[in-house]
Symmetry: C2
Subunit: 337 residues, 2 copies
Amino acid sequence: MSDHPGPDGILQLGMGFWASKTLLSAIELELFTELAKHAEGLDALKHRLGLHERGARDFLDALVALGMLEREDGVYRNTAATELFLDKAKPSYIGGILEMANHRLYPFWGGLTDALRTGNPQNETRHGQEPLFETLYADPARLKEFLAAMSGVSRGANMAIARAFPWSDCSTFADIGTAQGDLAVQIAEANEHLTGIGFDLPVVEPIFEDYVSRSPAADRLSFQGGDFFEGGLPNADVLLMGHILHDWGLDDKRLLIGKAYDALPEGGALVVYESVIDDDRRENAFGLLMSLNMLIETEHGFDFTGADCRSWMTDAGFRDSRVEHLVGPDSMVIGVK
Amino acid sequence: MSDHPGPDGILQLGMGFWASKTLLSAIELELFTELAKHAEGLDALKHRLGLHERGARDFLDALVALGMLEREDGVYRNTAATELFLDKAKPSYIGGILEMANHRLYPFWGGLTDALRTGNPQNETRHGQEPLFETLYADPARLKEFLAAMSGVSRGANMAIARAFPWSDCSTFADIGTAQGDLAVQIAEANEHLTGIGFDLPVVEPIFEDYVSRSPAADRLSFQGGDFFEGGLPNADVLLMGHILHDWGLDDKRLLIGKAYDALPEGGALVVYESVIDDDRRENAFGLLMSLNMLIETEHGFDFTGADCRSWMTDAGFRDSRVEHLVGPDSMVIGVK
């Protein structure tokens, strides 16, 4: 049998939800936030987190083996990455998206087979509730969690866009579907000549204002309330749409790209950024899985390749377009009017 | 920020259940079994598997990106590994454990945080039913699935034990908790001088006989019914316990090791094999996570290090012991009387 491939890769992937859920439970239990206060041994951690004797040591040592904790002489501490990104007390916290994954997406993905057979979402809407965004935006607490989650998952790409785009040629930008406004903050902080608008539903305004007020660039950023399916988009040299287009079906994607074209000046640019799938659809597993997440979460949404997005931009009238990689699975598609 | 660690590793692990569940749904839909008949394009696969238009292409391309399928000119086919291990029509199928993971463990692991806080199982027993093994062994169809699942996950290690153990010095063996009998089959097929017993609850006998009858070594293998917590174990030169001890608490582990000692001749050996955790509890993530799976699935079970098991063997009277790695996360602990 020695020439045959082994089953290990299959078993590791199939049981991969064990490792994933272990990290999600650690975030739910605020383990990393506790350890950011100070490193601790097993007994103190059990007490502070309310862990039962039985699974505590396996849980912590599994996180060591998964590279999420360090352990020396029986004392557990965060790794450099978990200290920076999973301590709730730090502005660099990205755990919001994983909190949402833990209590919403994990159970909803249990319905993946049904989703594949029916094409229907498997989230709250499955039980006859309102569609996702109506539900989220109607509940201020859940909305704030959702928007913080979006900031968490986007921050690395936001920082890359703030540096990689040729901002020196522009003076204004508007971030469409701005949520907390982290992308606007990163761009404005990295480019002192820019003035920016965060555009989102009016209900988002206090959440945006609260988040942006902590930035040294706050005086160059303002909120504009609106619904991007009603009326036009704000006018600016650059319009950005991060993790927006994948929520919608093809007709709505084209509609939004067309509205961006209409709102831009000649020479202006639309920046679409997401986990853009590679054109050959065989490399960016995260982007392809994100598209399945849109199947689970939305009525018509799907992710897309750079070539897909460029063709929609061309059809909308953009004279030039290109794809630039940002960080991890994320790329931006830039369309120039 | 360039000196700081990135968040990608955290996000990939936290969202790892997406990739895992995608493979589990593919097994549920018998995608690999269909593709083993012949390679197919998107439209034919959609029709044959009953997939809705919306998610089908993303699903298949995600499996390409995850290394579980190949795609050339729009035609999907199995990889060498998925062709061998995930085609239900082949005896090498290991998907049983992943079928069980899909419809039992995935939802049960949704209760991990509760399990960590309470120490209580999160499987069927949570809803007041009988403990796991009573439930499984009372339902012939589920029992057969469970036992096939155990064979699937064990086969690589079974084959390694059949070759790596010094069988030339022995003439008889008994596999304790034999299930379908795959370990007994592998050992007997690789060592023609050996005669073996498969020991398990009487209800397992027809499942064992059915499985073993297909082996060329069937005439050297026999079934012995019994309950390893009642009465003694069969007498043989070598006793094997694969994935047995981790199901039970410490007292029962010691009881079973003691019974094995009593049943062996001087110079005989007990072989315990599982996903044995490395002694420093920081390398074998799968073994540590398997221990959390025992938290989810059993009242008192847990996985253990080689040093743990050797100390229990020493306490039971074994004069010598050692740990030998098998394949992947699995090792065997050998105790010599």
